[in-house]
């Protein structure tokens, strides 16, 4: 309890009790409304974004969101000139949607019908449209209506200004786009993973792409108010990218992306409510970013850490297997009059250029696998180690024989290939190698290790 009461400081940092209260929707009607609205938005963006990311349309959504600015400004100018209320949200969002569609159309024309690559087309549209928007904004500023602030909130977002009507709008639009994704799930999946196949099968790939782009437009436009047009790409791209790190299955990825998006929106809005100096749009994206980088490091499937561990494990395995085979070959050569299970591994140092730490690591790995045991200050193979050394050498030499017989390689040229492949020969391949060699009468009987095809 001491912790709970003393962490509140004058610097505006909230204490844990406050945080829990706000996170449990106890932070007042408006804060809770914003949190639920942004969470719904994150959910919808994550679902639609999953397909955008898989279809490699990430930067297209960025282009789209930047391209909305002149639409917003023009909608304001036109509505004001016609005597209407320029700041009305539906008017501005309609302008945003139109300009976004125009931008996407311009990218399409340029990348499809000229020699310019798609990325150049996107960059050109993004910057030119945004520049036009800025020119129009500076014009609006000269009108002296004081409305430019209201329009600039779309650039960085103004989550706190969300009204009940806005939250309902986001909820409705989000639900509609979820239903659309559910209805088009099969088509979207096909186009995301194998557009050529879809085309050959007679699916209207262009129309499906168009539907996906329409969904991205909808999600982008309703996100403008929450996170602003520069950061709207974050909620479309980051949660799906995070989800992709955890799974290879589309259904799970969409569900995870929705969850990550919702959590980012909910937590980000809560944090920003607790700390008034932190703008909501930025904090939401930072929460999403933290989830991404945590996953990037820790995900068991595609994470950096697990990848590094896997790599380490593999290189230790390979090194250990080389040691085992070398013990076998040394014992076989008869130079040492000791058996394989009494041959001290330290003697290998004479023939292998090992650094000491590397040797210790390999021996530790072999010991952990139960293939090596310590005896009288030395390390020798266990029974299992001897069997494993035999198996590895046998596989190595079966592969060499196979190459000599079936690939017409000279005996002096087969060792290198076998050296690489011996670590990954599984039972099935070994069985087929045996069959193949038995057919040509080259298979040594009773599972013994064949003689080496070349001088060891």
């Amino acid at each position: 309890m001491i912790l709970l009461t003393t962490t509140a400081t004058d610097a505006g940092w909230p204490d844990v009790a406050q945080a829990v209260e706000v996170l449990a929707l106890g932070g007042g009607y408006n804060t809770s409304l914003v949190m639920i609205g942004v969470a719904l938005y994150g959910l919808a963006a994550g679902v639609v974004g999953s397909f955008a990311v898989l279809r490699r349309r990430a930067m297209m959504s960025d282009t789209l969101s930047h391209a909305t600015l002149p639409g917003i400004a023009l909608a304001f100018i036109v509505a004001t000139a016609l005597g209407g209320e320029g700041r009305s949200l539906p008017v501005l969002l309609a302008g945003a949607a139109l300009a976004g569609v125009a931008g996407v159309g311009a990218v399409h024309v340029m990348s499809r019908y000229t020699r310019l690559p798609e990325d150049a087309a996107m960059g050109a549209v993004l910057s030119v449209f945004f520049g036009l928007g800025f020119v129009l904004l500076s014009y609006i500023q000269t009108l002296g209506t004081g409305a430019e602030g209201g329009i600039q909130k779309f650039i960085y977002g103004q989550t706190a200004a969300m009204s009940t009507a806005d939250a309902i709008l986001i909820g409705v639009v989000g639900t509609v786009s979820l239903l659309a994704v559910a209805a088009l799930f099969k088509e979207l999946r096909l186009v995301c993973f194998d557009p050529q196949f879809a085309d050959v099968q007679g699916w209207p790939v262009g129309a499906i792409d168009l539907a996906l782009m329409a969904l991205v437009v909808v999600v982008t436009v309703i996100g403008l108010q929450a996170v602003g047009l520069i950061l709207v790409i974050a909620l479309i791209v980051i949660p799906p990218a995070t989800a992709r790190l955890w799974t290879d299955r589309l259904g799970r990825m969409v569900a995870l992306a929705a969850a990550f998006g919702a959590v980012s929106g909910y937590t980000g809005a809560a944090l920003s409510a607790l700390m008034p100096r932190f703008p909501a749009g930025g904090v939401i994206v930072l929460v999403a970013g933290a989830l991404f980088f945590a996953s990037f490091l820790l995900s068991p499937r595609h994470g950096l850490l697990s990848g590094a561990l896997r790599h380490l494990r593999l290189s230790l395995d390979i090194e250990s297997q080389h040691v085992l085979r070398r013990v076998f070959e040394t014992a076989e050569s008869g130079v040492n009059t000791v058996g394989m299970d009494t041959f001290p591994l330290s003697r290998l140092a004479l023939t292998r250029a090992w650094s000491a730490p590397r040797r210790r690591a390999v021996i530790a790995h072999l010991t952990w696998l139960g293939l090596v045991r310590a005896a009288d200050g030395e390390h020798v193979l266990t029974k299992a180690g001897v069997a494993e050394a035999q198996r590895l050498t046998r596989n190595h030499r079966l592969w060499e024989l196979f190459l000599i017989n079936n690939a017409d390689l000279a005996p002096s040229h087969v060792h290198r290939s076998a050296d690489l492949v011996e670590h990954v020969l599984d039972g099935e391949i070994v069985r087929r190698l045996e069959e193949e060699l038995a057919r040509s009468g080259r298979l040594p009987g009773n599972r013994s290790v064949p003689m080496s095809a070349h001088p060891v």
Partner: protein
């Protein structure tokens, strides 16, 4: 408009815009050819946290700390994008989207902290620049230009951008052969023993440096437009790299001067009270030039394509030609 106002207000702004657009267009040629156009976009967004952190640490808008902070942020962004792309097994677009949006968000959040410390900084100036604030108060008349001390008082933005232009030009001239090879055939470049990775990195460093040098005066939106539009326009008009670079520089200069004139004087010509944003107008002008080329380019334009397609359907015998 008197000559003095032109010298004090318009000339320095035009020079800043011109130097910025020329440096960007020069590098843009290689970005467009290497399909890295959006890297300019990503990097110029990602420098924001570096700039803000430098402001927070130093407490002023001194040039060097900001430059160092922004360049560091640009390099971090490039490295992170490559890391995420390679080890997260994502396409480049996704990796860029993830990294630059997170870094920009970090910058936006940091700016709010800076605001409480009375540091004069907002995200708007990074996006749009403050071209109109580039003032050169020294010259009082045309004859005063003969005085060297007047030139020595050229505003910092202009001299910085001139330096960036010199550095980029020298670098491109020195590594012309390498850049050309790595842009058209990276595999051959590697096979011949050029370090394609080093060339890549060098190009990205230059992109970062130019983006940083230009952001304050012209803003990152104009930087992105100038990385892409002039080079893309030139790409539609020629197949020779040297011609393409030369043309892109011409288009960049036309966009810079034309856009500035349109923004500063255009509204007055049509009877509006005051000027509109110059950096935005320069971006729009470069876009208009690009749009013109997209439609009318003699060999790669939409109209030509259409004529070819039509004559092919009308006269199938000659469609092969």
């Amino acid at each position: 408009m008197s000559l003095t106002t032109f010298l004090q207000l318009d000339l320095p702004a035009m020079l800043a815009a011109l130097f910025a657009t020329l440096s960007c267009a020069l590098l843009g040629n290689f970005l467009v050819l290497r399909r890295q156009s959006l890297m300019g976009d990503a990097v110029s967004h990602a420098v924001l946290p570096g700039i803000v952190l430098a402001f927070l640490v130093v407490g002023s808008r001194a040039t060097w700390p900001v430059f160092v902070g922004a360049t560091a942020a640009a390099l971090i962004a490039v490295a992170l994008i490559e890391l995420v792309r390679r080890y997260g097994r994502m396409d480049q677009g996704t990796a860029m989207g993830v990294v630059f949006s997170i870094m920009f968000a970090l910058g936006v959040v940091l700016i709010e902290q800076a605001a409480t410390r009375n540091v004069d900084l907002d995200a708007e100036c990074v996006l749009y620049g403050q071209l109109e604030d580039v003032l050169w108060l020294a010259p009082t008349s045309l004859s005063s230009l003969a005085d060297w001390s007047v030139w020595a008082q050229m505003p910092r933005e202009v001299t910085t951008l001139f330096g960036a232009l010199v550095v980029t030009s020298l670098a491109v001239a020195a590594f012309w052969k390498e850049l050309k090879l790595a842009s058209f055939d990276p595999a051959l470049a590697s096979a011949l023993g050029f370090r394609a990775g080093i060339i890549d990195l060098g190009l990205m460093v230059l992109v970062g440096v130019v983006a940083v040098a230009a952001f304050e005066a012209v803003g990152s939106i104009l930087v992105i437009a100038m990385f892409i539009c002039p080079a893309a326009t030139a790409r539609l008009l020629t197949d020779r790299l040297s011609h393409q670079v030369a043309l892109s520089l011409v288009f960049a200069a036309v966009a810079a001067i034309g856009g500035y004139v349109l923004a500063a004087f255009g509204p007055i010509w049509v009877g509006l009270a005051s000027a509109v944003a110059a950096s935005g107008m320069i971006a729009v002008t470069s876009g208009l030039i690009l749009a013109t080329a997209v439609v009318f380019a003699p060999r790669h334009g939409l109209l030509k394509r259409r004529r070819v397609a039509r004559s092919a359907t009308a006269d199938p015998a000659h469609s092969a030609a």
